[in-house]
């Protein structure tokens, strides 16, 4: 995996907790079920922590915990499924989430710009070639008709 943040290739300080895997001291990304069962321990002993959700997740199911989270990773089931774009936008603008929102799963370099425009600030690509192309594609447009995200303005 290659991570892009702030239009640059970036080191990834986070790790997904695998099924039956060991928690690290901090910077674990856990799925929603694990989070629900263990969030007290995660917050008190493994901060900062993040969750992994699916693109079709209803934000109502986790927004109560937003202030305990330092990262939300959204898994794209297919690059043609645009639900996560609205999800990220709602997390930023409606719920005021300011920490990292990361896109992972099936995303194309050509989608990098739109993803960042709706509030994703970290993008995971399969390899460095895709990630480098995605950085190029972030500059495809210098003008936009839509307003900036309120959190980015």
């Amino acid at each position: 995996m290659t991570l892009i943040k702030h239009k640059k290739l970036s080191r990834d300080d986070w790790q997904y907790l695998k099924e039956g895997g060991e928690l690290r001291a901090s910077n674990n990304i856990v799925n929603l079920d694990y989070w629900r069962g263990n969030n007290a321990v995660l917050v008190s002993e493994h901060s900062p922590c993040g969750i992994l959700i699916h693109g079709d997740e209803n934000p109502e199911s986790f927004v109560a915990d937003l202030d305990k989270l330092s990262l939300i990773a959204i898994d794209m089931p297919s690059f043609a499924d645009g639900r996560a774009y609205s999800l990220a936008k709602v997390l930023r603008d409606t719920y005021g989430f300011t920490k990292e929102i990361r896109a992972m799963g099936d995303i194309l370099p050509d989608q990098a710009l739109y993803l960042t425009r709706v509030g994703f600030d970290a993008l995971e690509f399969a390899n460095e070639t895709s990630a480098t192309l995605a950085i190029e594609k972030l500059s495809d447009f210098s003008v936009f008709y839509q307003p900036q995200l309120s959190s980015q303005a």
Binding site: F79, A80, Y85, K89, L115, D140, V143, Q146, P147, A153
Partner: protein, 548 residues
């Protein structure tokens, strides 16, 4: 016309460069067909039966003579010397080469035209009343609002991967000429008791496999809130619309399955969170767009009064004026419809030569501007009555003066099996036969809307035709299902099935029979749909199925 500013032009140029790169990467194998598909579709490029098909937008149907000449240039340089005007204010080219499409788009961009979002699961071209700004019954000119919505929808980062395509239509008149009731969102302009401008918002209309008439979701949304309210609808649709079955992915299905009241409540909740935000339009922002539309300078009166003389002396001219022109809000002017339904070409098609001729005529007689209509015709909307005779002669020379607007030969027709990879049956050859059969009696037959689609996707709007013809495939043979009584004017209505499908070689006879029943039963001046309503479907059934 809306005059592009530097931002508009920059965005267009950057879009061309982006697509050039995507095409290059596809041709070199860096993008797979699956990955390229949504990218090319979002730029109007289909892979069709014979070749790619490129669909170019004519935003809200407004076109300059210069842009029409560019369409001619593209037809000549990259295609087979013609273009096809669609029901949604687009033009389609059926024979471009994939590797040349970036060049076509670059040429189009020099006249502020593009194919952005003319296809794909995103917000499509915003369509509008072709008589916007010139009809006497207008509440407000909808075109600046169409442009505001166009800009908001263009390359919208959040709404480019929707469950399915999404279409807006906007009307500024009480009489709907934009088919707002059969769009995903239909906007009807209105004023409240204080004279404030706003919109009645319809949602969930559409044709295709499951034709549905749109329902009112909000009876009045102020002009300043129209983007935030639209965004709330789109967001609700993007989050909750079905993605498991593409035939159930349109917003009409979501509205039906959720129920209008609940859907409305979801939209309302979302809207309340964004209503006061950055999408709220200020009076200045609206005015800024309005001032980008160059005003026309109308003359007070005709230059001479030979019009009455020409009408008296030339019966062909008189017939054309009666059939192909309507009143303008300024009494010295007329709106002229240019029929693209001649016996010599498929409905909606126009040659590059005709485009050049018509561009010249629009420069001479109609401020160098044109409109496209949802009946696949063009219109010169601002012609001095005293110029009509000269214009008519020019149109006749160009083969564009067929006096059949609104008649049975002025039919809507999709490309059908001849071009489209979705079609089950052909429509162009049936259209040709109908034109031949009715050429001499169309005007006498009266105004009848005939609409024909080559498959149930319904691009030819068959379900809202007074006579609807739908091509179906039966064990590899082409059959046609007829419906009667549909309507697209003001109160849209879906047609009723006449009976079992009819074999291809009997379709035109069946239509002829239907017209005969109408003519035998109509009272003086009665429209087809009224006669049908009065006498019912049975007499038509009897005649058609007894005969065949």
């Amino acid at each position: 016309m809306y005059l592009y500013n530097e931002i508009d032009q920059t965005l267009l140029n950057e879009r061309v460069a982006q697509f050039r790169d995507q095409t290059k990467r596809f041709l070199s194998g860096d993008l797979t067909e699956d990955q390229f598909r949504p990218l090319r579709l979002m730029n109007g490029l289909y892979i069709q039966t014979h070749a790619p098909m490129l669909r170019v937008n004519i935003p809200y149907g407004l076109l300059s003579s210069k842009q029409l000449r560019m369409f001619a240039h593209i037809a000549d340089k990259y295609d087979k010397n013609y273009g096809h005007f669609t029901t949604r204010q687009n033009i389609q080219y059926n024979w471009p080469k994939l590797e040349q499409v970036p060049d076509i788009l670059a040429d189009l961009a020099t006249v502020q035209m593009h194919a952005i979002q003319s296809s794909g699961n995103c917000i499509r071209n915003i369509t509008c009343d072709p008589l916007a700004g010139v009809c006497a019954d207008e509440i407000e000119d909808p075109r600046p609002y169409c442009e505001i919505i166009r800009q908001w929808a263009t390359l919208h980062p959040e709404f480019s991967y929707l469950p399915r395509k999404f279409k807006f239509a906007v009307s500024g008149s009480p009489k709907d000429r934009a088919a707002t009731q059969v769009h995903d969102i239909g906007l009807n302009m209105k004023k409240d008791a204080q004279g404030n401008i706003g919109f009645e918002v319809l949602v969930g209309g559409g044709l295709g496999r499951t034709p549905v008439i749109g329902q009112v979701i909000a009876s009045f949304i102020s002009e300043k809130d129209i983007l935030s309210y639209s965004e709330a609808i789109l967001r609700t649709y993007n989050l909750f619309g079905r993605r498991d079955n593409k035939y159930k992915a349109r917003i009409k299905i979501l509205v039906r399955e959720t129920g209008l009241e609940k859907f409305k409540a979801q939209v309302e909740t979302e809207w309340q969170t964004i209503k006061g935000g950055s999408l709220k339009l200020t009076a200045e922002a609206i005015q800024r767009v309005k001032t980008h539309f160059s005003p026309l300078h109308y003359q007070a009166a005709p230059r001479d009064n030979d019009h009455a003389k020409h009408l008296a002396n030339d019966s062909s001219f008189k017939a054309w004026v009666k059939q192909n022109t309507v009143e303008h809000k300024h009494s010295a002017y007329k709106v002229v419809f240019v029929s693209l339904k001649s016996p010599t070409r498929p409905p909606g098609d126009m040659t590059d030569r005709q485009m050049h001729d018509l561009a010249d005529l629009s420069d001479d007689y109609s401020f160098g501007q044109l409109r496209t209509t949802h009946d696949q015709n063009l219109a010169l909307t601002d012609v001095l009555e005293s110029d009509l005779y000269a214009l008519w002669q020019g149109l006749k020379r160009a083969g564009l003066a067929t006096p059949n607007i609104g008649t049975i030969t002025d039919m809507i027709c999709c490309p059908g099996l001849d071009f489209c990879s979705l079609a089950n049956a052909s429509s162009i050859d049936i259209a040709h036969e109908i034109t031949n059969r009715f050429a001499d009696k169309a005007v006498d037959t009266g105004d009848i809307s005939l609409k024909m689609s080559g498959c149930m996707n319904g691009c030819g709007h068959h379900s809202i035709g007074e006579i609807g013809v739908l091509g179906v495939d039966k064990k590899g043979e082409q059959w046609y299902q007829l419906t009667l009584g549909g309507s697209d004017s003001h109160y849209s209505k879906l047609g009723e099935r006449l009976g079992k499908a009819i074999a291809k070689d009997s379709v035109v006879d069946a239509i002829d029979d239907i017209v005969d029943v109408y003519k035998e039963n109509r009272t003086r001046g009665e429209r087809f749909s009224h006669t049908l309503q009065r006498i019912g479907l049975q007499p038509f059934k009897d005649k058609v199925y007894d005969a065949h």
